[in-house]
Subunit: 679 residues, 2 copies
């Protein structure tokens, strides 16, 4: 096989002539790919992988190319192939597509060769049409057919034999030409190309096929200890189980628990993050580890491991998966501090440095040292921790602050886990600078928290979502749009009242195919510490008992949204999001549609939570495939209203208190031609 022009020579060196390939074809600009193939492109099982490439060579020879896919490490026998098609001659643009059925790691690449037969047919046909003699060309074509016969098997071999016999018998070129340029013969010749001089693209590109829920899911985050009913007492896994029907009724399919492990007592934080904990304060669940155990243990007041397994099982039976927090940090009382002091960094005075972001101090937490003398023991222990919880039913890990841990650790541990458990997901909580957020997505995190939580205006949302869906990052980053988190009660929700909660729920659920809320959101909880984004009396530091049916909740809206999402395949994807024109700066108009355009969803959503708005929207007729003069049905899915509209611009009235958004399903009414017989 020839090497691709791209694969040679070394930039710094002179070129050794004998190292050059014969007749290489240029295969370049292969997309999708992430950073020249260093990182995997992400798809979900059930998706297809569509690959485009620029493929050309010197001169005018016709080319042929295939897209090749195999499970990672499967060897040369493992390739599956599909032909690529030239879709734009001027740009030398080729395209191939393959269905992705199973989860796991894959590799894909491209192979191209000179299609001597097609070149010959082109040449001989043009010359014949111009009235030129083609006797010599026919002899050349015969030689090509003969070579294909030598490569071929079975029926094709027999067919070629017959063709060649006919060719040799009939000596008139007028008769032999049609025989040689027939489409039947071309089809047979295409099956037996001479690929001995084929060129391989210089990269084998990685692909990660994720579970379908990586791309389409609704998350519900909860503090298990706050699911109880008795003030000042730990809620238990039993309490969590009692809440499952309600959470499922709202339409969520991932149940995410903050850490459930024992909590340290040394420097335990009190209510509202105070330095001194009261006698009965439970401490932050992120100060992991105490006398009762560390990352593989369960806080005894929540229940037993068996209780946890029962909770997971019940959730699974109801169609929900369980996500667990992975926070790699320790209370000073964590067993690792005693058993593995070499996993920590000691200061000149012999103490372990606690977590800090000067001048802020987190005295209840110490960090492990990822590059210490026995670093790989630590790394393996962390891997084993993940294995432990997978063994008890956890399929998703939400990772706390991954950007403060080394990137190579994440790449190793995620790949190690997913090679055995390809269905396991990792959600990166990297609220940090964009390059690190993206890097963590590249090296393997299934999903990422995003800046959605702080993008409120029409311009902010349009710009940010355009970046997420229209740039390379759509190939590797699946954002999970959380409306709020235990650490983030955005000002928009603090000040915007119930309409703000409705708006943010609608935006999260329809802009992204994966989104989540942290419990209390459905109750429009907006009690913040003044001047901060933090919850007042946060359940991070104290017990809480919620009234899950308190007046003003928006559970019905959330349930409706989640059902609309499930019913409409257009909302199962993120990358198809497009923004459309409307005449009101307080309203965003956007949509998604399936590739076959058999499900079209358009959303007009307010961003101003206070003032009602009239809006004129421009429906994207071309994208929807609807002629200017053809009627289409518009079902508003939240209200059930129906319209029959024609043309581009349409009006709607939105009121933050009542209907801050309209979710339109567009159904073209196909014209029927009564001149044709009924079927």
């Amino acid at each position: 096989m020839n090497k691709c022009v791209r694969s040679m020579p070394e930039p710094g060196a002179s070129i050794d002539l004998s190292s050059l390939s014969s007749q290489p074809i240029i295969v370049e600009a292969v997309r999708p790919q992430v950073d020249d193939g260093r990182f995997a492109v992400k798809r979900a099982a059930g998706d297809s992988l569509r690959v485009e490439a620029t493929i050309f060579a010197e001169g005018h020879d016709a080319l042929a190319a295939v897209l090749k896919l195999r499970p990672a490490g499967a060897g040369d026998d493992g390739w599956r192939e599909v032909p690529m098609v030239l879709v734009n001659h001027g740009l030398a643009l080729w395209r191939g597509e393959m269905a992705l059925e199973d989860m796991g790691r894959y590799e894909y690449t491209i192979e191209a060769w000179r299609d001597a037969w097609t070149s010959w047919v082109n040449e001989v046909s043009k010359k014949h049409e111009a009235g030129q003699d083609v006797e010599l060309e026919l002899a050349e074509g015969r030689a090509l057919a003969q070579r294909a016969m030598a490569l071929s098997h079975g029926d094709d071999s027999q067919y070629l034999k017959t063709v060649l016999k006919g060719f040799d018998t009939d000596r008139e070129s007028a008769a032999r030409l049609p025989l040689m340029v027939s489409e039947d013969l071309a089809a047979v010749m295409a099956r037996w190309p001479d690929r001995s001089e084929a060129t391989a693209y210089d990269r084998i590109l990685p692909l990660q096929v994720e579970p379908p829920r990586a791309r389409f899911a609704a998350w519900y985050e909860m503090f298990p200890r706050s699911q109880g009913t008795e003030p000042g007492r730990w809620g238990t896994f039993e309490d969590c189980i009692r809440r499952l029907p309600e959470v499922r009724a709202m339409g969520f399919d991932v149940l995410y628990f903050v850490p459930i492990h024992p909590i340290g007592v040394t420097h335990r934080k009190g209510r509202n993050n105070s330095l001194m904990a009261g006698r009965d304060d439970p401490g932050s669940p992120y100060a992991i580890g105490g006398a009762e155990g560390g990352h593989m243990a369960i806080h005894p007041d929540l229940g037993t491991l068996e209780d946890f397994e029962r909770l997971v099982r019940t959730a699974n039976h109801m169609g929900m998966e369980v996500a667990l927090d992975l926070a790699i940090q320790c209370s000073p009382d964590h067993p690792w501090v005693r058993d593995h002091p070499d996993w920590f960094t000691f200061r000149p005075d012999g103490t372990i440095k606690y977590a800090e972001n000067p001048p802020k101090k987190y005295q209840d937490i110490v960090n492990v040292e990822f590059f210490g003398p026995h670093q790989y023991d630590l790394w393996r222990e962390l891997r084993d921790t993940l294995e432990f919880w997978i063994g008890h039913g956890v399929t998703i890990f939400r990772v706390d602050n991954p950007h403060t841990k080394p990137v190579p650790f994440w790449e190793w541990v995620i790949r190690d886990i997913k090679d055995r458990h390809p269905y396991v997901q990792f959600l990166s909580e990297a609220f940090t600078r964009p390059p690190m957020m993206k890097m963590l997505a590249k090296i393997g995190f299934t999903q990422s928290y995003s800046y959605f939580t702080w993008r409120n205006s029409k311009q902010e949302i349009t710009e940010y979502l355009t970046e997420l869906t229209q740039t390379e990052c759509v190939e590797y980053m699946l954002p999970n749009f959380f409306t709020n988190t235990p650490d983030i009660l955005p000002e928009y929700l603090q000040r915007g009242g119930r309409p703000a909660f409705m708006i943010r729920a609608i935006l999260a659920a329809t802009l992204s195919s994966v989104y989540g809320i942290y419990n209390g959101f459905e109750l429009c909880e907006n009690d913040a510490i003044p001047g901060k984004e933090e919850y007042n009396n946060s359940e991070k530091y104290q017990f809480k008992v919620w009234d899950w049916d308190r007046p003003g909740h928006i559970k019905d809206l959330i349930a409706a949204l989640n059902h609309i999402r499930v019913d409409n395949p257009a909302l199962w994807r993120f990358d198809t999001l497009r923004f459309y024109d409307c005449d009101n700066d307080d309203v965003i108009f956007y949509g998604k549609m399936t590739e076959a355009r058999d499900n079209i969803i358009l959303v007009a959503c307010m961003t101003n939570p206070f003032d009602p708005a009239h809006v004129w929207m421009e429906f994207p007729l071309e994208a929807m495939g609807i002629p200017e003069d053809q009627a289409f049905e518009v079902d508003e899915l939240l209200s059930g209203e129906r319209h029959l509209w024609t043309g581009r611009w349409h009006h709607y009235y939105l009121d933050p208190a009542e209907n801050p958004a309209a979710i339109f399903r567009v159904i073209p009414w196909r014209p029927v031609d009564y001149h044709a017989p009924c079927l």
Copy 2:
């Protein structure tokens, strides 16, 4: 040295923990680079190389980075370094810049490390400001200073010794802190970083530093045989020498000759490409090779090799370089056909296939076979041909149809030649699909013909030039804007009259920093074969005697343009081109300025060669650094008119017959503050 995160692991494999680097820093998105470093970035001697990269690591450590540059193949000792600077914290964007003095091949890369001292200063300062005790931190800082002392030499070593002594003598942290966080100490510490755990970017990126004329030159193409004065007779090199003062007076600095070699007689083409040559027809100079020799010979009617050398020498003395055509094709009478039949492809009837593009035939030309049994002998012969002409003073090769020859051949031969002669240039005449045109620029062609010749309207020019200057291709492709060629007399010139010639000259000379005309353009020659882009009675197939002063010529305009180009450094670059707003669709308004903004050129040029136009132009005040209320002088360089203008929008009147364009030099009048003393 640590490996970069990007350099590991293999996409398909599991990760071996022991293969991982300790504490890697992420260095990515290094730009400029072409196709992940496969191809060289191009600069000209005298330019600088500005490199940007995204550099970050987990956590909050301060980082340091250097840009490294060395001559290709110079080894580890050859690196020069400059520090990179963090220019955008949120995007983790770093920048470094290095001057490029000499032509040749270079390599550059980046190295980054954790800047422990800066991290320490940040931490201890914040804590001290917050009133926290820093005794422990001071002990940690002392250890860092001690390590630096061990690495340091000379004065710095002495300085650090003194600092440490002062630190140990003075036991009060109030006194020791200022000592340790001083800027002097920081400067010394920055000179002796511990780079043992530094991370190298995973690529060493190639850079080609071209001769200055690669980026700024005006070309004049001629048929030497048409420079004579006697109809039906070969013009000679002597005639060419006689024309040099005139060409130089027009301001050209590259003199480009179509092939000067012997021409075959077999199937020689006659006038206007007719199949039968008349007895005295000279044949196409592209049908190279005859009884008198091949690619290393000179057509005897032009003169001798000594005459040629004299022509080159005279041109050089006048400040012009000589470019020769390299057309790799043969007349059937070429000596190679006899001496090296294995360099050609024979058909079943024993004949060599002549060049064709079915149904078109080029019976006077046969092509060599680049992948034949003795292909490398052929490749070396071609290399030796280039060496031969370089030996006789040629410094530039204009390559005919490079896109029909293998890309690896070009990459090899260009690199081979330029490794010995870095001042030699290759111009690619690849009038073909964009990917091939760009690929030839990537693999080493210094300059490229472009589609400029066919881009006439405001929209066409704006779109095409934006692609050339604002996308990655600006890093490797230097377009040479030819207004016409012996094969291309564009319809715009055929129909637009003298104003069309003026307009295309102005556009070529000011849009691109490298441009060229083919002789006759300055005479507004527009005699075409009806319905074609070809010249009627083309000098490709017959003798021609020109009247170089015939009425209606635009030699004065061309001379003015070339002098304006030389006088204004803004026009020496291509990548700085930007388009600005004007209110007339028949006028393009664009400009270039030096980085220091001490030379600002704005051009308003008509595209409609017929109708006069009023135009309002928006001067780019922000880009020019001129406040809204500050006056600026505007010198129109073609007419000599001067204006003093203020504000954004200005009016001009353009008339195709008189002044189809205005070339403004903008000179800000700096306000003088009379409250300050005179200097």
